[in-house]
Symmetry: C2
DNA sequence: GTTACCAAAATTGGCGCCAATTTAGGATAC
DNA sequence: GTATCCTAAATTGGCGCCAATTTTGGTAAC
């Protein structure tokens, strides 16, 4: 089992326990399969028993941890099929509104997206895993926000968390991260050029993390 | 405020409190805006205080009730824009996999869908609001299941609950319900005829509850 | 040496009490 | 007669204790 000493984060004292546990799962501090003992969490986050139980209940509702009656809670083991299905859903949702995003993009929103893409670049160099993760989240939130559908933004943020360890562990390789950073800028380019088809292709490749986003440049000249 | 007497449902005694409250919200027993006092719920469902609080916390995570600190929980007021956005999301998701559904449909699955559609018809005549609601849910679950994406099935079931009172209250009109029943059968027809475009059109009209199942070329049109 | 059983330690989870905050009603002052 | 303040009732919500179940370690029997 993983070490579970009290880390005494006085700065993070006031934040919600659920978020703290969530962060530690997403950043890989609590690896998949780990049994989350209530006493350990109580000490680790310096909180009370009911707070721990509320957090665990919420996370099990979000399907991030599994609850086994009279046995406890443990972090979900990576499920290849489920991860694939979540990716499929994200591709459907995020490409479906590509035309809306292009339609509603303004110079101001494009500038903001560029800034967020650059911020992600910076976090690649200096920044914790969590800051990096949140920078990525912020970029995609802002991009989706262009669709005008706030529920969609929240929903994607939600299901994105469902494949916890998989994407974060993939980020461990620097090559992968650097390509993600480049793809962010390419998406903003496609948006600026009002290239819907190219944007869709980029989004799909970005989510699937496959290499083939090749013919984006060629189509970009149209419109 | 609504009456909150103990209904003494001995049959439903063993079920989870969360589901019981959820049902009462979805069926309109607890109308939008109602303040859910913990003491009342305790008596109504014959359960303990912690159980009530867990249920309320879960429902507020699902965004079905709103939590106001030191004030309590109340059923979310209907939000037209949000309902519209959820509908848009459902249209995107359910039409996106129409081709997969046609591709994977077998004589057996079509027969099962027919049976579920007929079951919905029956519940139109004899059956409580809840049974009716669940019959509808069962049909759509089975239909979506054809896509092979289990996560998608769960996700749609989830977001379907986010517009609680709106769809159920619309069901109050008999004409609306009867058209829904007819549309179910038409969907199975389209599935059997392997008519992907027609199926998509039907699904969109069914979700949007608009009469025109004619020319819906785009996927996610927004007002 | 291995297996089965029993007991002790640990962990989960149900439940109720009490403090803190809010709300409503009444009394008093203007 | 009305507005304001103050008090009392009601409600929320934090917290800890204890019973029930599981796990683990040791011992004895085969």
């Amino acid at each position: 089992m993983t070490e579970m000493q009290d880390v005494s984060e006085t700065a993070a004292k006031e934040r919600d326990v659920t978020d703290l546990v969530l962060e530690d799962i997403l950043t890989g501090v609590l690896p998949a399969g780990t049994w989350l003992k209530q006493i350990d969490l109580e000490k680790r986050y310096d909180c009370t028993r009911p707070e721990v139980r509320r957090a665990l209940d919420r996370l099990s509702q979000k399907r991030l941890v599994e609850h086994v009656p009279n046995r406890g809670y443990h972090v979900y083991l990576p499920d290849g099929r489920r991860a694939q299905e979540v990716s499929d859903i994200r591709v459907i949702l995020e490409t479906a509104v590509a035309d809306l995003m292009v339609e509603r993009a303004t110079p101001e929103s494009i500038a903001k997206l560029r800034q967020l893409a650059r911020h992600f670049d910076q976090m690649t160099m200096v920044g914790t895993v969590l800051e990096h993760y949140e920078a990525n989240l912020a970029f995609h939130r802002e991009l989706l926000l262009l669709s005008g559908n706030h529920e969609l933004v929240d929903l994607v943020s939600e299901i994105r968390q469902r494949t916890s360890s998989a994407p974060v562990s993939q980020w461990r390789t620097r090559a992968r991260v650097e390509r993600s950073a480049r793809e962010h800028h390419m998406m903003v380019d496609a948006l600026e050029a009002r290239d819907v088809a190219g944007l869709k292709r980029l989004i799909e490749a970005h989510i699937r993390q496959t290499g083939d986003a090749a013919p984006a440049e060629g189509v970009a000249r149209q419109a």
